[in-house]
Amino acid sequence: MIGSVVERKPSSNRPPAQGAFPAPNPSTGYPTVTHRSKTTRGASAFAKSRQVNPSRPQNVPTILSTISPSMKWESTEDDDDVSVQPNPPAPAPIPTDETERLLKEVGDENNQRISEMTEEERMAERADLLEKFGGGIGEMLRRRRLQREGKAADGNELVDMAAPTPRPATIQLSPPLTFSEDDMDVDSPGSTSTAGPSSAVERLEPSKTPPTRAQLLEDLNRPRSALRDSTAHSETSSTFRRLRFADVTPSDIHVYPSQPASPKSVHMLMAPPEDGSADGVPVTQLRFRSLHPERMTKHDGPAVWMAKEASPELSVPKASDDPEEGTPEDIRRRFFPNEAAAQPGLNWITAPSSEQPSDAARFDLQGALIPPALQSTLPTHLGLHHTASSLAGYTLDDLLYLSRSTNAAQRATVLSVLAKILQRLGSGNISTQAVGADARERILKSGMAALGERGSVGARAVEVVWEAVVGWDEFYVLQEGVELWVEEKRKVPSSNDEEEPPSTIPGLDALSSIPLEEALPLIQSYFTVPPSFPALTLSQLLGLLHRLATHYEAHASAIIKTPHFLSSVLSAWLAYKNSDFLRETAQDPKLIQLFSVLATSSRANAEALMVDLPNILLRFLAQMPDSSQSTEDRELRESLMAETLHFYATLGRYGLGCKVALTAQEFMPALVTYLDSSLSEGDITPSFARLAETFFQVREIWTICAIDPHKTSPPHELIWSQIEAFGWVDDLLHLAENIPAEQDTIWAGLWNATAAYTEGATINGANKGQEEKKKVMDGLQDIIQDGHGRSAIDSALEDLQSAIDQYDGLGKPKFLPCLRDIARPSTLLGAAVRLSLSLISSATSTSDPLGLPGASLSRLLDDLLSTTVPNDPLATTAPAGAYVHLRPLTTLLMDELRLSHRLGTMSMESWSVRALRILRHLLPGDEAHAEWILQNFSVGVKDLADSMDLTIDDSILHRGVLQDVMPFYMHAIRPDDKFCIAPFRPTPNSLSQATRVILPSLAALHKPPTSTLKAPVGLPLKRDFLFQPLSDLLRSSTSTAFDSFPASWDASETETVRATLFAVEMCQTLLLDMHPEEALKREEILFGCMRVVMLEHGQPQGDSSEDVFRDTVVAAEMKSLLEPFTIGASPTPPQSYSVPSSDVIPPLEAASKDYLGSGVPFYQFYTDLLALYEAISFADPIFGALLLPPLSMRYPPDYRKLFWGDHSVAVRTVRTSVEQVPADGVGEFLWPVEGDTELLSRYVKALGTGTVRGFLRTVALHHVACNIWLPPASPPASNSSASTPSTAGEGGETRRRHMLLALLRGNKREAVADVLKYEPAVGCEGVRMPGREERVAWVRGWGGEDVLQRLESA
């Protein structure tokens, strides 16, 4: 029982009615000591405050305990006392029978003496006392006597016998009891409950005289009594601690399912036996018995207790005049009777006025969110109240603050809570809104701050950082080969102190801004020999580095550049033995994975790694897995070997480190044997599959390295004859026999490796490798015809088909898995097609050597191109890095395209359509493919045009059709020679060119070209990339394109434009019929033509005939490009027009974004265009037509004001007819009706002077007529633009009249007549034009006959 004095609820064992006190023990005269659980009056302040607080819920939900999570506690409120109250030591020496008897004898003796004294003697004694102790002594003695008697009458409370002894320690021991028990008396005068204000005053009186010893004692005790709670333990010598036990029987004690006060003391309380047999056994002799679960539920579980607690009939009647115990007034009277109630120094005794649950989310120790409703009701024993707040749980701020604690244990605990919060945040169990968007970053920072600490704090810190970095989006961990950083809006405190609110600027995300240079030495300190951290922590650290290196290229470089970091980690890692860790493996393959990722990040990093690492890792190739080993050992060896091979392959993609192929060849036969035996046994574990895959991968890459030994660095490290001598292809053909059909990755690897060999043999072998091809064909014939290989291909086709069918689009939860499902079969099919392509022996062959199901594959890919699969992962809203899954797909598309090109299975036209469609989907790394497509297109375009009956102008033919623009397109594809991403499938050329293997982040692709973070890649191509030459010409001063042009390029501006427009025309002709959604849209064509007319550089100013747009060929091409998009071209003009929602970006502004950049609005471009038109156009009809689309009501009114207002020249000279306007329909110019007064007056003026013609007149007439005839309230008629919101409503009626009168004043009868009779060509939904009678009635209504007559005459 020691250490866990627990306040009991009396009603839990007995019915509350039982309240009789035991009679005083006659032998001693003192009442029998009774445990307070037997009294009804033992209700504590906690209990009372609960009883008067009915708002407390009766059912407190379960909270999992940190310490014993398997046990479920309901609320066990009695444990509050354990944690709040320090366990009080036994207050006083046990009153033995001896002392009691002695005291009683002394008392009797005194009474005897007093009764024998005479009156004089008594008076003399009294005077003596008064002289000694002052005037108050009589009262004091009387009170003391009364107290003693009263106590004897109450009888059954603990009695402190030693009260006025000169030892202060004994007095100090009692306060815990007085604190909790109302009617317990302790003989320290200052702390008696009866000491009201009056007695306090009385006691102050003697202070005029020199203080007596008793007063000194009193003064000594009084102020301390309030402090004793905290100081009693430390001040008390253990010799005074004596326990007193009440005469408690086991049935009196109920063991609540309490939380232990500290983790070390488990279940100090004992359960009463269920039967009555143990009655009478003193509680000290009981032994612990564990709780039975059914006991908890049976009767007196805490929930029941809570319910009883709240029931009103249990409320104990309390003394009417005493302030209720625990209230501030009670505390003040008891402990600070000398202080005024309103003294500010005593503010702390008032409870914080019922704290409202704040908005801040609060977490429990499991990192789970505590619902706001529970925050104020949860019991305090759960360890959730160690903050200033009275609410349960910790806010994120609390935790972050506590995570900097100097107490290591606290810090470790809080860090682990933070890690759990992150885990829940990452998995979506906690919404980000609850904790703020920057929660991850803040927690990450506190974790980083604790990195490098020793012991569990260090381990927990790694856990926190790991959760923030790796565990956060574990989904991407497996997604290798692409950077993952994204752009985030970050708050930046403004420099001007408080004047401006913090602005948000886009910046790198939290992970990219980790100061890794500072963290690396700390991480290094974890890798000690022998290890001082568990394997899990070290593994998490490696995972952390892996993720960071993948995330952002600068991190990878930082890891490489930090001196001695990798070498010391590696040497420690190599030195670990399995015995160092408990049941964990010493060598985590993650380190080799880290090396691979570092090597992918850039060529420089790979070069730094290739110095000695390949040879160090060779040891893992020597440790051949053995079937005699345990499964774990075998898997470990397999994955170590696999990662080593993968690392070699990664280096090989730069053409680096090929020499190790020769060294490793020593182990290769054994490895091949192992692979073969495992394959033939069909014993394929995931780690084995990975090993086989990487084996084929490294074979493929080393074979490619050997094809052209000049491309590797240093050259001639591996040459073709060595490949032949090693007999690698024989290994492949041999292994192929036993690969099961369902192992798609192994099949893909095998075919890629074989294809690499045949490709090399075509170059290096005699007679274009006919012998080698035949050998491979013979070896694979059976497998591919009807063996496992064939079924692998068939099932891959089916998988791809079903994956495409199941694809559900961007933003759906299954988006990434779907992409992965598409990528897997694509890899296999691509490899098969590649092999087939490489096996074609003669130039005239028209059949597929492997007999692949070409037709169904082609159809499937056509379907695929029509879906949104190739576009979605590249959208700005797509998850970062998702687009890496498209790489196998684009490679498959290209392989199929090349195969059909080679075999001639498609017509020229459909092949070109397919090629153009694929071209736009190619990804960074596919530059070679894009160039190949364009070159083939350029070569075949003349024949293509002939077959499509398209005439090519002689001037274009003369310049070699597309030859003039090819350099522009090549530059568009590969804008920076110094930045080259290794292709998905390396080629001899790519080995020396590649500067990195990892793809840039999606954010880097979407950055504007001016940003330093923009990846200098051209792919994926912009939609309107065919107009790229125009952009380069317009920006010839800044464009880098011309630097890369061949010296022979000498095209003039006009010639370039001709060729460009021809290329666009070809594309449009090919795509517009079959795939109109992939052809250029109206706005893209419009903006392209606008760029043409803007070309005026280097023109001899004198002769306008040399303006580019006036060139007959160019003009004809522009005309034919615009033709399909004019109003006249749309087959059935719609009779009605519905106003689109206003938040759509006007299409031209969207289309021009790429060219203009974010800094220049399209409006500015339009202003320049209009000025140019007015200066030099000579009213060119095409130029004029280009000006019109922004006048649509979908665009802001500024465009119309610009056109109609400041530049009246354009209004006069643009005479385009309605049919020639490049727009959807005339409706978008007419509806909603213009509401701007300034514009309307321009319209009226233009109509009145009769200067407008054609389309413009239609528009002006419409708006004027509608404003006059339509009643102003008509909702869609009032396009209340921002500047004039009220005109349509209030001034509308007056304006109508004024407009009509203004029109009448102008003496253009024709215009007036048109307005009077106006009926719109295209109606608007929900708007009805009033008929003639209504119009007449309206005019008569306000103008009378006079106006009407003037109208009639007009």
Partner: protein, 126 residues
């Protein structure tokens, strides 16, 4: 910084012609007229009055470079007159107009001198 000396804004250099007319070969009745040592003041005025002329289909001008004192005028007519004729006509109109304005201004000044001491018709000078 790159500005020409002031006098070059209005003095012709050696061999420079004030006006240069280029007939457009491909566009009917169109001409491009290059006027040296003049700026927007004259160009805008001519363009504005040209556009009032019903014979003119198009009239526009531009100053190719802000630091070169020259502008290019582009005129297209409906065929009833050549661009040069229309330009001459416009210039005559403008000259007449300016003379008239000048005359009126002088008239007002004379009147003002006569009315010294009388109430200022346009408020106090100054």
């Amino acid at each position: 910084m790159n500005a020409l000396p002031r006098f070059e804004l209005f003095t012709l250099g050696d061999g420079e012609k004030m006006i240069e007319v280029v007939e457009d070969t491909k566009i009917p009745n169109a001409a491009t007229i290059r006027v040296l040592k003049q700026d927007h003041t004259l160009a805008n005025m001519i363009r504005g009055y040209m556009l009032k002329n019903p014979k003119v289909l198009f009239a526009g001008y531009k100053v190719p470079h802000p630091l070169e004192p020259a502008f290019i005028l582009k005129i297209q007519t409906d065929g009833s007159a050549t661009p040069v004729e229309v330009l001459q006509e416009t210039c005559n109109t403008l000259i007449a107009l300016i003379t008239k304005v000048k005359g009126k201004l002088g008239e007002q000044f004379t009147q003002k001198e006569l009315e010294v001491g009388l109430e200022e018709p346009f408020g106090a000078p100054g």
